[in-house]
Every structure is written in structure tokens, then in C-alpha cells.
Point group: C2
Chain length 229, copies 2
DNA sequence: TTTGAAATATGATGAAGGTCATTTTTTCAA
DNA sequence: TTGAAAAAATGACCTTCATCATATTTCAAA
């Protein structure tokens, strides 16, 4: 149930928390976060932060989806990651004490809480499990991005689309993939027209089914085969 | 001076240490590392670790250069990073407790020390400055890789070559860039033939000067202009 | 110094995919 | 419900770059 007002969202009942980096907090810590955080309802296409701005804390997604992207020289977006319920965004640049080099924007209406930099860093100092979880997460993402780079460099758009759809399948779980063609193209790293043509191919090959903008995967195995491994 | 035997390299006299993540160690910690680490001389093109193997510790480059790369489906390498004196490699996967998804290999003869996982993790537990340095480094690399992805997705090979040469300029400092055409192509993410043709263009445009395999940059500004920002 | 292998270089060719123009469909607010 | 704007789809065209073939140069070992 999406809370459309600015009402407070209680950490202890947050659906995403159990699988999140904050799952390790003790009751006392959680209560502290709960008392100090700010909760916000975001409409579709609202910005969390912009490239170039300075991090003031971390965003914790209660419900909804957020794209993390960079704008290239000609203004075209490259989506780096799509974050969903339970994930935290905005803490990577916070550690390096540099301006954001990526931007974040909701893909759908979302409830997102904000924990201040000080509160978060204090918790990290005092909670080794949280700390190690963060380090692990950063390391995992580094590996993911290495894969991303290699895919970009060596795979065809068709292969990358298949790979991207597998990732989106995990993000959207049972739901059909619900992204604009442009966002999907910007995730795959191609032109919108090319993406649309490839979606048509996939449709004709019986790999996917499309209802207006929503895409359902019918044949996951074929996707794996195309993506290569 | 490159130590060509397996002689011990003393941390306190290590040229790279002052700028390294281990710069924050106190004397006691440094002595402990010094007493427990293993030092090795590597020939050119020797492997530090392979994709799929399990991390047992971190490699600390005293002298030399190491390429970090992934092998794509057709066996073609994609170079993700080139590490030099003072840098540590191999700790990213160590934190995530997963097999390496990248491989590391020397680009030239090198002296590289090895610190065991336990020793390193213990230090991280007890030294907050080291810990924060690591987190900061991981975050910085995440940003760099986001740039890398966006470049791959949106820039032409010519633009990427210029960008890559700027990075290499920082790595090689005053020295001419000394990489095989194949490695350079695998860093830029293109075919070796295409890379060679572009180098010829750069040469004709007076941007670089080439002596056999060594490349000197004559006009850094032009490189920046081509790379775009 | 010679010789063979590896690295570098060049040429020819074609496919992948980007761009621009235009049409069709969907969405959303009035 | 309708009309306008945004999104999606299609077509035509052309540039970039990968691939394959082959030539030339460099390097190291005999």
C-alpha cells in the first residue's frame, strides 16, 4: 500500500528492511533511525539528487523504484542501476566526499526515507555488521560494473538487451517489466529506435509478450542463450 | 631499482607506500605487515590471480604495473584498470567472499608483496583510518566505472581512445605509454586494427609521437577536446 | 647475423546500428 | 469524450567499425 502523504513510515514494519543493508540494526539503532529520518512521498519522475550536488545523507527506498543514471555529453542518459524497495541509494559518493557523479530519479511513485549523513556515519562507526555489509555491497557492485563494462565493449545490442532483461526480470520479479522504451534503451546503451526494433524481434521469436509498454518474458532460457552464459 | 630476486622488500622504504591506502598504518602495524607479508618478483605477463579463483589476500605493488581484466565470451580481454606502484589489487572480491570475476597480470617486471586475508582484515578491524580509506577507494572506483560505462555506451572509439590516453598519461606520468596495441585496444574496447588506424590518425594530427610501441603525447589539450570535457 | 614468430600495419568488405523523417498509438488533462 | 502532446513504431539511409586477408616490421633466440 503506497502512502501518498508525507506520513511517517515505521522502520519496524518496512517491507524492504529485512533484505536490506539495515537488516542488521539492533532495536535501539532502528528506533534511533526511525526517530531521526525523514519520510517522503515521491511522484513518478521526481529527482532524488542531481549530478554535481553534494551528498547529505542516504535514501532508503520503502516502496517504489529509482533509476541511477549519468548524462553523457549530448544529454543522453545512461542508466547504471535500478534500485527498488529495500535498497539504499546515494551513499556511494557520500563516502568519497565528492559531488554526485550520477543522478537518481523515481521511475514510479515511491515512498523514500532519508537518513542524514551524520546519523548514518555514526551507525557505521558503531556497527561492524553494517559496516561490513556496506563494504561487501560496494565490492559486489564493483564486480557488477566490471561485467557491465565488458558487456558494453564486446556484446551486440541484441545480446545486451537479453542480458538487461534478465536483470530486469530479477528487479520486477513476478511483475511485467514496466519501463519506457527510452529508459530501456538507455539501460541497454543503444538508440530508442534500435531497441524498439529488437523488441519486435523478441516478440516475433516468442521470447516476450508486450502489452502497451509492459513486457512479460515468456522464455527465460532463450534470453540466457542470447545473452551468452 | 627493481629487485630481481625474491629478497624481502621493506615496507618502510617502499616508494609507493606514502600515497597508498597503507599510508595510514602506524609503525607497529607496518612492522607487523612487514614481518608477515611475502615478497615476490614477477616477470612480464605473469598472473597474480585468475577469474574464478578464490581471494586469499591482497597484492601490494611495490614496483611495476598490473592489468586488471575480464575475458569476454569469445576470449577477448576487456581491461578494467591498470594498477601501478603503491596500489593494492585483489581485495575487492575478498570482501564479497566470492570468486574473482576479474584476473590480474603484470604488464612489466614487477615486485609485488602479498598480505594474507586474515592479516589484512584484522588491520581493517582495528584501524578506522585504513577502513575509511578502503571504503572511500571503493566508492571512488564505483564512480569511475560509471563513467567508464557511459563512455562505452555513448562515445565513439576515437573519443574513447582519447579518454583512455588521458588516463594512461596519469598512470605513466612522465614516461611514454608502453602498452601493446592489443592491450590498448582491449582497454579502449575496440578491435586492434581499428586502434592502430586511430593511432595513425592521432600521429598525423600531431597529437602523439610513436617510437615502435612507445607512445608520447605531444598535445594533451587536443586529447581533452576529443575526449569531450 | 639469421631466422622464425609475434606484433604491427594496411587494405577491402560488409554488417550492425545510429540518425533523421514520418506515421501511428497511447496517455492525460480539459 | 476529445484533442493535444508524448511515446512508440516504422522506413530509408549512411557512418562507424569489426572482420578477414595479407603485408611488413620488430624482437629474441639460435
Amino acid at each position: 500500500m503506497l502512502e501518498k502523504s508525507h506520513k511517517h513510515i515505521t522502520c519496524s514494519t518496512c517491507v524492504g528492511r529485512k533484505n536490506s543493508l539495515l537488516g542488521s540494526l539492533c532495536n535501539e539503532e532502528m528506533e534511533h533511525v526511525n526517530a531521526h529520518k525523514a519520510c517522503n512521498y515521491y511522484k513518478k519522475h521526481q529527482s532524488l539528487f542531481l549530478e554535481g550536488s553534494f551528498p547529505r545523507g542516504v535514501f532508503c527506498i520503502n516502496e517504489g523504484m529509482v533509476k541511477i543514471f549519468q548524462r553523457g555529453d549530448e544529454g543522453k542518459e545512461q542508466i547504471i542501476h535500478i534500485a527498488k524497495s529495500g535498497e539504499m541509494v546515494g551513499f556511494r559518493s557520500m563516502f568519497s566526499e565528492t559531488p554526485y557523479r550520477v543522478a537518481a530519479e523515481t521511475l514510479e511513485e515511491s515512498n523514500i526515507c532519508f537518513i542524514s549523513k551524520d546519523d548514518f556515519l555514526n551507525m557505521m562507526d558503531s556497527n561492524p555488521v553494517l559496516r561490513n555489509g556496506i563494504i561487501k555491497e560496494l565490492s559486489k557492485e564493483l564486480s557488477d560494473r566490471a561485467d557491465f563494462i565488458t558487456n558494453m565493449a564486446q556484446k551486440s545490442v541484441r545480446e545486451r538487451l537479453a542480458f538487461t532483461m534478465i536483470i530486469l526480470l530479477e528487479i520486477y520479479e513476478k511483475e511485467p517489466i514496466n519501463l519506457s522504451r527510452e529508459d530501456l534503451a538507455n539501460f541497454v546503451g543503444t538508440a530508442t529506435e534500435t531497441l524498439i526494433r529488437l523488441l519486435k524481434d523478441f516478440k516475433e521469436e516468442g521470447i516476450i509478450e508486450v502489452h502497451t509498454r509492459k513486457i512479460s518474458v515468456l522464455n527465460k532460457e532463450k534470453l540466457f542463450a542470447i545473452a551468452g552464459k
